[in-house]
Symmetry: C2
Subunit: 154 residues, 2 copies
């Protein structure tokens, strides 16, 4: 079990400049009627099954397990509803913190967000000049929301 | 990934006679709006996270992962809805097959079922004389159904 404490921002890709090699991520969800999330993720050569509770502010309970990629693919095909989210994740170091920059594809083409994981809700960090606006609390940026109401429908 | 092929029966406990040591099982579910199941199970000293697809006859796609028992307890407490199912499972050998005899507690007190796992849908097996009636196709005996409509409400 872990507490995931994350802040999410819109960014200016032009200001950020050239990116290193990214990791392709494909993720899909088993439908749930509430804010609990059951996520299957293919990330590079690896795969994960992740359970998350409802967001409480910027915190969320998270349980993540590595599973065989063939399992993840079969579960996506057989048990997940709706389309998958596809994005490439780039890691950007900035003053002692690692930012995850996600560039989305498909129906979310054009959407770019950056996330920073914190060890406590009040941990301080320096905001890079390529950060435009915080969207941590906004449900429409949840990856699970981007399935039903993708960026190209906003 | 595995295909779970199972037949389920009501039994006559008196005819079955004395049982060996059983294993206590507690299981709960993350709510889903369809026939997909996300199950957390504590079984003796172990714990499992299991995803299952909808039943197709007596077959069901199943993906099962061992997880730390502390995780399973925390997930049950934080992410599962409804009460847990509690039962003791006894393994009974009969002519080359292992039968799982489940004796339920709580709101399902009085319910006893026996399951046999098969390697194919048409695998033959000898029915013991303590078997009373097959209930393989009956949704009310699904463990996930026993949460919402337990045996004491039938």
């Amino acid at each position: 079990m872990a507490k995931e404490i994350e802040r999410k921002f819109l960014i200016d890709l032009d200001k950020l400049g050239p990116l290193n090699d990214g990791t392709f991520i494909k993720q899909a969800y088993i439908a749930t009627p509430d804010k609990t999330t059951v996520r299957l993720r293919l990330k590079g050569e690896d795969a994960y099954l992740t359970l998350k509770g409802a967001n409480k502010g910027i915190s969320r309970t998270e349980f993540e397990y590595a599973i065989p990629p063939e399992d993840a693919k079969a579960i996506m095909a057989e048990l997940c509803t709706g389309p998958a989210i596809e994005k490439t994740r780039y890691l950007v170091e900035h003053v002692g913190h690692t930012w995850e920059v996600d560039i989305f594809y498909g129906d979310n083409d054009g959407l770019v967000v950056a996330e920073i994981e914190l060890s406590s809700e009040d941990e301080s960090f320096e905001k890079p000049d390529w950060v435009v606006k915080e969207v941590s609390g906004d449900p429409k940026y949840y990856n699970s929301s981007l399935l039903n109401t993708p960026f190209n429908q906003w």
